[in-house]
């Protein structure tokens, strides 16, 4: 069985994004960039399927700038077999990514497509569901457990009230939640080996997809700042403030 994993290069989760003074977007210059944390979990799950003898090949794909090659090399160092980059230097929104991934799935014919549940930059939480719709494949979002057997995948999902389990016919799309697994670290020998693994670079034209953004961003601003609070000396003072000043209890 072939597994396709989609990964995105985003701002490192520990870095503090700065809004550009002209309100046109986020200033990413000199900020550390990394693989989206949910996508690391997706790669780990695919590699575990391979180690478990279930997957025969793990293909990692990314859509983004040339620099996204680094993220793909990381995915290869974690155990991916080969990588595909759809290179585009512009802004790519979830619907366009979904169309590109659907085109890549038609080309690669995977049995399972695994993605992170959301990217920590746009926080859209759309791409996996959109690809599933475009391919007319079933989906299981927010997965915390994945079991593949007999041409089907059983997925436990995190829902608002607790957990839910679905059983999907393959091919299917799964998006990962944080508790699915703990991603491994890439070892130095594996990082060296990853440099020799195949990485194909495609353009949107070659794949026949239009990556132009649909939603127009009019402005990006900082959220309202909270006014500086006060420190209280003890519990009695705290309860007094909450009761008589904030009037919330």
């Amino acid at each position: 069985m072939k597994v396709l994993v989609a990964v995105k290069r985003v701002i490192d989760y520990n870095a503090k994004p700065r809004v550009k003074p002209d309100g046109s977007g986020i200033d990413l210059t000199n900020l550390k960039m990394s693989m989206n944390p949910f996508d690391e979990i997706a790669v780990e799950e695919a590699v575990r399927l391979k180690e478990g003898g279930i997957a025969s090949e793990v293909v990692v794909v990314s859509i983004g700038p040339a620099a996204a090659q680094e993220v793909l090399r990381t995915a290869l160092a974690l155990g991916g077999d080969r990588a595909v980059l759809l290179q585009d230097e512009g802004e790519v929104q979830p619907l366009a990514v979904a169309k590109a991934l659907a085109a890549l799935c038609k080309r690669e014919q995977p049995d399972l497509l695994i993605l992170g549940k959301q990217a920590i930059d746009d926080d859209a939480c759309q791409t996996g569901q959109m690809v599933a719709a475009l391919l007319d494949w079933p989906q299981a979002t927010f997965a915390s457990q994945v079991d593949v057997s007999g041409g089907r995948v059983k997925v436990t999902r995190e829902i608002d009230g607790g957990l839910e389990t679905l059983d999907l016919a393959l091919p299917a799309v799964v998006t990962t939640d944080l508790r699915l697994n703990t991603p491994r670290y890439a070892s130095l020998p594996n990082i060296m080996k990853a440099k020799k693994k195949p990485l194909d670079v495609l353009t949107a034209g070659e794949l026949g997809v239009d990556l132009a953004p649909r939603l127009k961003t009019l402005k990006v601003v900082e959220p309202p700042k909270r006014s500086g609070g006060v420190m209280v000396a003890d519990v009695a003072a705290l309860v007094d403030k909450l009761r008589n000043e904030a009037k919330v209890i």
């Binding site: 926080d123 959109m130 989906q139 829902i159 059983d167 009019l218 900082e222 420190m231």
Partner: protein, 309 residues
Amino acid sequence: MAVLVIAEHDNASLKAATRHALTAALQMGAEVHLLVAGSDCAAAAEQGARLLGVSKVLLADAPAHAHASAENLASQVLAIAGQYSHVVAAASASGKSFMPRVAALLDSAQVSDVVSVESSDTFVRPIYAGNALATVQSPDPIKVVTVRTTGFDAAADGGSAAVEVIAAVEGNPAVRFVGQEVTHSSRPELTSARVVVSGGRGMGSGENFVLLEGLADKLGGAVGASRAAVDAGFMPNDYQVGQTGKIVAPELYLAVGISGAIQHLAGMKDSKVIVAINKDPEAPIFQVADYGLVADLFEAVPQMSGSLG
């Protein structure tokens, strides 16, 4: 053209999220229809018909909709979406799952987690874990929008809309529902509670959360947790507040033993009043707290519960 809101319910009753989504929808267009798709869900449809602002309830009642499967729900919405200018749902786990399917099938770029409606095509949404607010404009003929429930007040009762039964779609055979494991709690629902008392890694163990439960009960509030507390197995994951958990904006948020990572702040920094109790005076949570107390939570929390009588 009218706006279609997809109701969230458990077949017997509507969830609070639906009321918040309705308020947002009423700011997008004049007429709002509510789709109630479920199995034996006439009671939920009746509740929907009484919501102020709903002019018609569409009821799709079939076994295919028993568990709100994203595939079936998306097909049901697609069957009627052509008559609407907007399709709107709450950005809950359910809304986040089926709405992007609807959007892709309509070739519409979804606007996720909207906190403000500027006009019928322009919306404000948080990005980068709430560290920035983006105003985006959608050129699509049918706009697909999910709504952050804490950004909008709950719609009230007082309406009397007609309920129209519509044909339900066939179930998608590629998906089978296996089962559900629901966390039971007598406390208010986390996302709509007036007071939330949350614990982090500093709680030390799951047993110690009984301290927070006692305090939450005194305040009539819900209990939440940071990701660290969930990962450590102290609390089930559906208690998690943050970028990847639930977004809350209660009147009072009490963060106990929580350092205040960016990802946690993303889920609670729109609370009206934030209180932090932490023994580390350098904890980042104190930068957003209206009232901070540097103290050992194992002394401060029982003391606070005691003083609330």
